[in-house]
Symmetry: C2
Subunit: 657 residues, 2 copies
């Protein structure tokens, strides 16, 4: 049965409500609820956020900290929709729950009713008696209160000043919501800049280590390595995904395992565990954290194939089925059967998968990019991530699930910290597949539990304007990725504007680094490394760019010019990006800025400081003119120091009829 | 933990999922769910709808009928969003639950994979062996099957023909959803036409009875009477809501109770219980069902005031507080305190409120229009409606909750069958307060549990174009109400275009019938009774107008011309309405019909039969021209006999990337 007061639709939450929503340490999280009761009484409400520690593999919650569990008062931010909200900043890692409580504010109700009567010149003698009864039990000897009551018409405001809002103590209709849960990650789960490279193209770990100063110099803070394990020889793929690899062909790193070992071994060609540790240490010196690939599949030569044939699919002829999605064939990879008929086999397999993560956690790795999680059972991920986080709440999982929206969202719901997205294919401004619609989707309900990581390219995907595209195409996509999403990533070669597709119909790269060594000269004129460095530096300087929720698109009169703003948690930092989506021609637009959202004056001048160029523009009104020549610059990344945006909680919406 | 297969977001459902969604006997209800598993297997799914009888006051479910519990196969209607659906038509009144089950279709998976290989000219010898293993355990001696397997490339289609889709029996990954609940009302809860009149203006029940043939002649099927109880004398309101009523002033029927009795008594001026029964019987003869007002408030002279002072709010001076919403005062009404301090008092009060309904149910009344339910606790309604329906699942409750959207929706969620809406104030086509946006809201998620009842006027509300408006304003609002919503209602006098507001600022009528007797001459030239009769006859003839969900607005090039279509459950009936929103001037528009939604040919002629005028238009393409002169006609109500709309379940949407 419903409570005395209705308290519903607590946010943040996941679609089913059965998993924790997500936040990060230091992130301003809007906790909100719909709260009402019958009639016209004034309500009061508060929310209590309690850290309960990580959740164990069997759902056991351990309470690790109670000092954080202070109640925060909620504000009625939308009276017409009975929506209450407060922004709370978690400081403790791990699982939290939050409960909203509401009660009738008898003093506020009395004041509202009495004021309405005073305003209408109606008799308030009974209200005075009610007011005395209401207050005297609390503070009847307070001379200020008595004076205020005596001269009530003039004293109503004074009364509100001298009597603090009563808390829920003793409220006869104090009602508590059902609790919601919130998982608090470390800050990097929300705000991160990834750089991907194949160590073997640099001669292994030692060579890759030499790239670290340059990668750190571009401002990245996560260095992601494709699988570093021994690579199968059976059906090894040659250049451009061909069969019949030559003896010198290195094969795909995702064909994991050979006689040298499987997921807990290192390809001897890359170096030793000592080399790996040295790489991690050097990376840490430069502020870079190394992320490993977690690809749960085996080459036909992986030790598991012989030791645990029960973990694989067998065909009628007794052979193990290689991976295929007809007509595509992956002869060098055996998929794992995550749900063998015998449940003991399943448990042993799942534990073995967890052992891999525990092994690399022991080596100092706490970020994993998970290969194709949508081809493994959702229940497996729920168990695995929950089990790992029970002991290691700091671990970050990035889901590479380029699949249908419900599947992508579900993987986020059951625990993945970040997700690759459809950003790569969102290249227009408008329409259902445009950037504006996609950001609205990502910054809406999804933002409660799914964190996008925008990659303009990956070793698998060279798409849209990048295909045979000019440098301005790369620069534009870089700026979009890094300023639309708090987390973004780049696969090496992007900064050199590598643009050759495998074929007109194929989204892969020609001479894909997945199948061959690629050496590069990074000191080329025209490299986008300086742009990446600038953008990443601007991201660090501006908290607005470190958050997802307060993103707003502004209208332009040219579909090829996109304008969007970001606002920091506290409203103290406001950025406006204007990007030319056309990498070939100059485009211009009269913008139609939503000054109310930005908190800018309608008719007084304000500054727009381009953090890329250093220029300062002085604009008046909501219609600045912008022209972007792609060979000069593809974007403005503007700081608006005069903006004072109204934060949620301060601007009530209009009442419904 | 999630199941082997993910089965989520079952629809219909209420926002919290803790109350039954709504359907009506004979209504085609789309039951749907998001269903997927990892990888590329083909799935199959079914839903089972089980009547479980009404839910008792303590949540006890009584299973009354199992014959209905047949499983219906679900169809993948939106592959890109993994959405499955089937339309099911309930036949039994009361509470149902429904469960979705899904499993891997091994045969379908095999056929899809094998066909892809055949299409790519790949070797399928292993697939043939797999196919034999898959089929031979089921039907190995079937010569057709053996022949099909032998010549597989040619026989693949034949194979699909000879082997029916296997059911869930033996599927190792058969997974069941959590159950949703569905409350099935009688048909009139969804499709109804209400007429409201004050019997006292006709001399009481006998005089009102004489109006029944005319009301039935206009095609209405519910006759709603404001409160019929004795009216208080203390602080009785005079004409136009004034204080100091004269001895002959009848007072507001909502000031319920005097020395003649309270909510279970009849105002002697209206007649006797026998007269009331006679009225009901005559109404029934004419296909009209009488609805009573359920207004839980008391005049100062109500017996409860003396017998149960504990059910009222007392002020410091000992008086009982009359109703007020400052600066408004309702001196003739005492609101009830639904949550007295002593819980025994609360229980006695709630039971007494239920006794009122049981009393009138005993008199043959099964529809109640509930006055201001939003000023009483939600928990009270949840208990009351659940308790009444445990014994009387046929009872219909219409909520008069002109309040904020979350409150209106919550009352629907906890049990109200129908709701008054904001229709009265939705007079424009576009914008957030326009008809299009409002219908999108009502036909979206809300349609799962909230049924609108559109009233162009009520005794409390004369608004928008009706205020001092011409007959065309009334005709237009009538057509809109009756063709946008399956349930609509009219307060008597509307057909006479009574248009005089209480004041320029006041939404009430001048000489409001709430405070005085109003006699009318219904046989006036220009009466809209014939229009009401036509529209209600068209509603009965066309199933499309009896449903809410499949409503679609079509673009027009004139904001004053609105066009919308309705489609019946089975797609066999399609109606297109075109209405002039301007009651003063002719308006014309080139329509922009969505032919795909309507299932009309793009370039061949099709008919549009105006059921109001009898004309048949022959149109070609999506741009018919329409001109509406308000003094001739305000609307086309068109039957589209050539329309063959694609129903949900037959037109898969595009896949996501």
């Amino acid at each position: 049965m419903t409570g005395r007061i209705i308290i519903e639709d607590l946010r943040p939450r996941t679609p089913t409500g059965r998993y924790p929503a997500k936040a990060a340490v230091g992130e301003g999280v809007p906790l909100s609820a719909t709260i009402f009761k019958e009639g016209h009484d004034v309500l009061a409400a508060q929310v209590t956020l309690v850290p309960t520690g990580p959740q164990g593999p069997n759902g056991v919650k351990r309470r690790v900290e109670l000092g954080q569990s202070q109640a925060a008062p909620l504000t009625l931010v939308n009276p017409g929709l009975d929506r209450w909200e407060v922004v709370v900043t978690p400081e403790v890692l791990g699982l939290h729950h939050f409960v909203v409580e509401a009660w009738t504010d008898r003093q506020g109700t009395w004041a509202k009713k009495t004021k309405a009567k005073v305003d209408a010149d109606q008799d308030i003698s009974v209200e005075i008696a009610e007011g005395i009864a209401l207050f005297e039990s609390r503070d009847s000897d307070d001379p200020a209160l008595r004076a205020a009551l005596a001269g009530l018409k003039e004293g109503l405001v004074a009364l509100a000043l001298v009597t603090p809002l009563p808390g829920p103590q003793g409220a006869p209709d104090l009602t508590a919501s059902e609790p919601n849960t919130l998982w608090v990650d470390r800050a990097r789960a929300l705000f991160s800049a990834w750089y991907e490279l194949f160590p073997r193209s640099y001669g292994g770990f030692k060579g890759a280590e030499e790239r670290i100063p340059a990668v750190a110099g571009m401002g990245f803070d996560v260095l992601y390595l494709p699988p570093v394990h021994p690579i199968g020889v059976t059906e090894r793929k040659g250049p451009d995904n061909t069969l019949g690899a030559g003896v010198d062909d290195p094969g795909s790193p995702w064909a994991i395992g050979n006689s040298d070992g499987g997921h807990t071994a290192i390809d001897p060609g890359l170096g030793t565990f000592d080399d790996f540790s040295h790489l991690l240490a050097t990376a840490a010196e430069y502020g870079l954290e190394v992320a490993l690939d977690y690809a749960l599949q085996c080459s036909p030569d992986h030790p598991w194939v012989h030791e645990h044939p029960e973990w694989f699919h067998h065909r009628p002829d007794g052979s193990i089925a290689y991976a295929e999605n007809p007509p595509k064939k992956y002869q060098d990879i055996y998929p794992i059967n995550f749900w063998p008929g015998d449940d003991a086999d399943r448990i042993a397999l799942w534990e073995a998968c967890k052992d891999i993560l525990d092994f690399w956690l022991g080596k100092g790795v706490a970020i994993f990019r998970v290969d194709n999680p949508h081809t493994k059972p959702v229940a497996f991920w729920e168990w695995l991530i929950g089990s790992v986080r029970a002991e290691h709440p700091e671990v970050i999982f990035l889901a590479e699930a380029f699949t249908r929206p419900p599947v992508m969202a579900k993987l986020a719901e059951v625990g993945f910290s970040q997700s690759y997205t459809y950003f790569t294919w969102r290249t227009e401004q408008e329409g259902p597949d445009g950037l504006r619609a996609y950001l609205e989707e990502l910054t809406g309900d999804l933002a409660d539990f799914m964190r996008p990581n925008f990659w303009p390219n990956t070793p698998d995907i060279l798409s849209g304007p990048l295909r045979n595209g000019p440098p301005a195409a790369f620069a534009g996509r870089l700026v979009l990725a890094a300023t639309l999403s708090p987390s973004w990533g780049m696969y090496s070669g992007f900064e050199l504007c590598e643009n050759e597709p495998a074929s007109p119909a194929n989204e892969e790269y020609r001479h894909s680094e997945k199948y061959e060594i690629r050496t590069r000269n990074f000191d080329q004129p025209g490299s986008l490394a300086p742009l990446a460095a600038s953008i990443n530096a601007i991201r660090r300087k501006h908290p607005a760019l470190q958050r997802l929720r307060l993103t707003e698109f502004h209208k332009t009169d040219n579909p090829l010019v996109v304008a969007y703003s970001k606002i920091s948690d506290d409203g103290g930092d406001v950025m406006l990006m204007v990007v030319n989506l056309d990498p070939y021609l100059p485009q211009w637009s009269i913008l139609d800025l939503d000054l109310a959202v930005l908190g800018l004056p309608a008719s007084e001048p304000y500054s727009a400081v381009d953090e890329l160029s250093g220029e300062t523009f002085t604009w008046v009104g909501n219609h600045p003119f912008v022209r972007l020549e792609p060979w000069v610059r593809v974007a403005h990344v503007l700081h608006l120091p005069d903006a004072r945006p109204p934060l949620p909680g301060t601007a009530p919406a209009a009442e419904a009829p």
